[in-house]
Each structure stands twice: as C-alpha cells, then as structure tokens.
C-alpha cells in the first residue's frame, strides 16, 4: 500500500458494532467505579470554582447569561468533561487496545476491516463521553441549575461533542510511539482549549485576536451549542456549530484511519 491508498475513503460497515460491543462488555465489568471516577474531577472543579469564585460575584450577571456563575460554569463543565472523557478513551484506552494488547490485530484476523475497528472505537469513545457528559447534566439538573426541557436536546449535542473529540484523539493515537506522547496533546491542545473556549468565562473577556482564534476550536462550538440549551434557549447559529463539529469528526476520522492504516497495514 502506498500513501494514496492509505488515505482512500473509509469503507464502513455495521461490523463496527461488534467492536463497540467488545468495549462495552469490558466497561460493564467496571461500570460503577468508571462513572464515579469520571464524575469526581469535573464536580470538584464545578463546585470549587462555582461556589468559591462564584460567591465573590453578584448573584445574577448579564455576562453569565443573567444567572449565577455556577449555572454558567455548569454548562461549560458538561462540555469540558465530555471532551476529556472522549480524549482519554481515544488516547489511552484505544492505544492500549491497539498497541499494548494487540486487540485490533486480533479483530482484523476476523472478517472486520481496520475501517470498522477505528469506526467502532470512535463510536465507543463518543458513547463513553456521552455518559460522562450526561452524568454531569443530571447532577446539574438535580441541583436546579437547569430547568428547561430544552436541556434534553443537550444529550445529542453531547454525543456530537464526544465524536468531535474522539476523532482527533484517534489521530494522536495513530501517531503515538508510547503513552508519554499523549502529554503533548493535553498540554498543547486540550488544556489551552479548555481555557479559550468559554468554559470558565465568556469569550468576550479575551482580546479580539484570541477570540478569533477561539472560533476555530471545536470546544467553542460545543459550548455555544450546549450552554443556551441548559439556559432554556435555542442556540443562535446552531447549524453552524453542528456543521463544525460534524466536519471535525468526519475529517479527523478519515485522517486517523489513514494514519492507522499506514501504521498497522504496511
């Protein structure tokens, strides 16, 4: 195979479901600790900053959508937590299956193509991320930080966010020589994005140049889609944000598949 054929269009099939189910079957064995583990970190940030920092601020500010800081932060936390869960699954867990356990090679000895393996991993990481985002959404609803039935529309938006972060994660996995490599992705991409996408504070607090940069970050679009829904509003320019997240997913899946083909099928 040469470079052109590695990056040939994906040839996807329903066999990807068998790959998804394999991961689900493993997860089921450790479901409760896994959910609690995924919930703890974002909750600590949300309560710590939300009440600690939010307590210093007026109860209702226009910059926070007319509500409290913790309600503003809660919506951002749902997005950031979805992003983190998708990234961890597509990086560390997928890398373990691909490189350490050689599970992907075992699967490819059966009548499943690498295209379906990577698709199954993409859908799995997005599903796991959805669980993480929805768990926080439930906590947020129980605390009364969201009231609107529109918040239910956040669930498909969370899944789309999961896809849009699983796909680039799989690119990094395809390139990674070892687990250490993932540190670069987190410190150079995920962490700056968390601070520049309106999770902790409104984007218009940033200088104009950085605001423009923020518009190309997928997390910005996830936040712009999900926060209004939690506030009970239809997101402005929803189709644009959806289009960006879908495009990121499709392009990154394709690139990840090409790189993984080059890595495993040469």
């Amino acid at each position: 195979m040469n470079g052109t054929t590695h990056f040939a269009p994906p040839n996807m099939s329903l066999r990807a479901i068998a790959v998804w189910r394999r991961n689900y079957m493993v997860w089921k064995k450790l479901a409760i600790p896994s959910i609690l583990g995924n919930l703890a970190d974002p909750m600590i940030y949300m309560f710590g900053l939300g009440y600690g920092l939010g307590g210093l601020l007026p109860a209702a500010l226009p910059a926070f959508g007319g509500g409290s800081y913790i309600a503003f932060l809660a919506a951002g936390t749902v997005c950031a937590s979805t992003m983190n869960a998708a990234s961890f699954e597509a990086l560390y867990s997928a890398f373990a299956r691909m490189h350490v356990q050689k599970s992907w090679e075992a699967i490819m000895n059966a009548p499943i193509s690498l295209d379906d393996v990577v698709l199954g991993e993409l859908l799995w990481a997005a599903a796991k991320a959805t669980l993480s985002g929805v768990a926080i959404l439930i906590v947020v609803a129980v605390l009364g930080l969201t009231h609107s039935p529109l918040a239910l529309w956040a669930i498909p938006a969370i899944f789309l966010t999961g896809l849009a972060f699983s796909a680039p994660g799989l690119i990094v996995t395809a390139l990674a020589p070892s687990y250490d490599f993932f540190m670069y992705y987190f410190t150079l991409f995920i962490t700056p994005m968390t601070l520049l996408s309106g999770v902790f504070f409104p984007l218009d607090q940033l200088p104009a140049g950085i605001q423009a940069l923020a518009q190309v970050l997928p997390l910005t679009h996830a936040v712009a889609l999900i926060r209004p829904l939690l506030f009970g509003e239809v997101p402005p320019a929803a189709l644009l944000h959806i289009a960006v997240l879908v495009t990121v997913t499709v392009v990154c899946y394709w690139v990840a598949l090409g790189l993984t083909r080059r890595r495993l099928l040469s």
Binding site: M1, T5, R15, A18, R21, R22, M25, V26, K29, Q101, K102, S103, E105, A106, I107, M108, N109, A110, P111, I112, S113, L265, S266
Partner: protein
C-alpha cells in the same frame, strides 16, 4: 487456475519495504485437506507472506486467491472462512476464556446462541474444560496458545493459518498442539503453517517450501526434500532429517 480444490493460490507475490524485497516473487498453492508448511530462517519473509495472504498487507505485485476470493480485494469475505493463530498472543486480557470466544464469534457475525453452543466443545478440544471462567493472567503459555487455536475455530473455518504455533512452548504443550492439528487434518481442514521446528514440519506437513531472503529455495514433501538434498546422512549415528536439509540450504550463519 482451478480454485475450488485449491483453497490458497499465491502467484508471483512481491512485497518491498523501502529498497528491500521482503517477498521476491514466490508462487505456491495448497490443496484441500493438505497441511502446507512455510519454513525459513528469521526474516525470510514468512510472516509477510501470511499477512499478504490474509489481506492485512497489500502486495506490490502478484495474485492471491484465498478460498476462491481475490485478496486483498475481497479479503474480508475470504477471512469469513479462515481461522488464524497469530505468532504473538493477542487474547483479550479483559475477558475470561469463554468471553474471548464469545466476542470473537461476534466478529464473524455469529449470533451469541450459536457461539455459546460451540464454546464447550472448543474448550474441551483445547484441553481447557474447567477453565471457562479463567482470567487470561492465570493461563500458562501453552493454555493461551490452545485457547487461541480454539478461538481460530469459532467460525468452523475451511482453512487454518498458523504462524509459528508452537514457538515458546514446552515439549508437552507442543505435542498436544500437534495432536490437535492432526485431528483437524483428519477432519478435512486445510492448514497453512510457518515454523522453525523441523520436527514439527516433518510430522505435520504433507508439503512444504523453504524460503530464504524472500524466495522459495526448495519445495516438496519432507521425505522427498531429504532424499533429494541429503542422499548421504551427515552423521553415521542417525539418518538425515529435515533440519539437515534446512541448514544445508540456508547456511549456518545467524539470521537475527
């Protein structure tokens, strides 16, 4: 070429990595019910040949027909009817023995009821009855290899492809694998295997080729190869064997 009685036909296969011809124009075919051996020192191109045959690597030139399907174009359809025992263990460490087989059945599109009905028989075949719920960490190397063999049989394949099936096993475990493979041949399965053990090839293989530097340098039945290349035994204490032929043809220098 007649494909029905020849589950695998390899025609002038070439595979190059950089400027090295890892597989340099090899051709062979396997008859139904035959055990065919691919022998050669490390780096001879055996594993690359197997990967090409399974559609896991695209050849640079040459034709492959596996169970009547052109590979790599229809490799997935071909693999539906193939069982593979890879060189290195890739059993799922998160699953028990039975779960490993169940999940593998799903990869073949088998429904769980069908797979579950096959699991006890396959575990018994592999000498793993009582290890149904065993964690992979508790299995010995021999047990893992037998479970991998059972896994390769989950789809009741026509052809079994084994890459060094007994490397790293103790003599007891090796003899058990040989016994099972002979049983599968008696049931009419076709087997393609690579090996470093000349005794293994002599016992199991109806026909074999010896590869070196990507080329086939000898081909025939074990007996014919010995008769052809070793008309006089190298030692007066024993008759010539396949190992003598192998070393005569591939030399005594280390290959790693």
């Amino acid at each position: 070429m007649e494909t029905r009685d020849k589950p695998l036909i390899v025609d002038n296969l070439h595979k190059r990595y950089g400027d090295r011809d890892v597989v340099d124009g090899i051709s062979f075919s396997i008859a139904k019910g035959e055990c065919f051996g691919l022998l050669g020192p490390n780096g001879a191109g055996k594993t690359t040949t197997l990967r090409c045959c399974l559609g896991l690597t695209a050849p640079d030139a040459g034709g492959i027909t596996l169970v009547g399907e052109p590979v790599p174009a229809r490799a997935r359809e071909a693999r539906q009817r193939i069982g593979v025992v890879p060189q290195f263990d890739n059993l799922d460490p998160d699953f028990s023995s039975a779960e490993n087989l169940l999940v593998f059945g799903r990869y073949f599109g088998l429904d769980d009821a069908t797979t579950r009905s096959r699991i006890p028989g396959l575990l018994a075949f592999a000498g793993l009855t009582g290890k149904t719920a065993a964690n992979m960490r508790t299995l010995s190397g021999g047990m893992k290899r037998r479970l991998t063999l059972a896994r390769a049989l989950i789809n009741d394949p026509e052809v079994l492809v084994l890459d060094e099936p007994t490397t790293g096993l103790d003599p007891q475990a090796r003899h058990l694998i040989w016994d099972r493979l002979q049983g599968l041949l008696a049931d009419g399965k076709t087997i393609l295997l690579t090996t470093h053990f000349m005794e293994e090839a002599e016992r199991l293989c109806h026909r074999l080729v010896i590869m070196d530097e990507g080329r086939i340098i000898a081909e025939g039945t074990p007996q014919a190869l010995i008769a052809q290349h070793m008309p006089v035994s190298p030692s007066s204490l024993r008759p010539a064997n396949l190992e003598d032929v192998f070393l005569k043809l591939t030399g005594h220098e280390l290959r790693d």
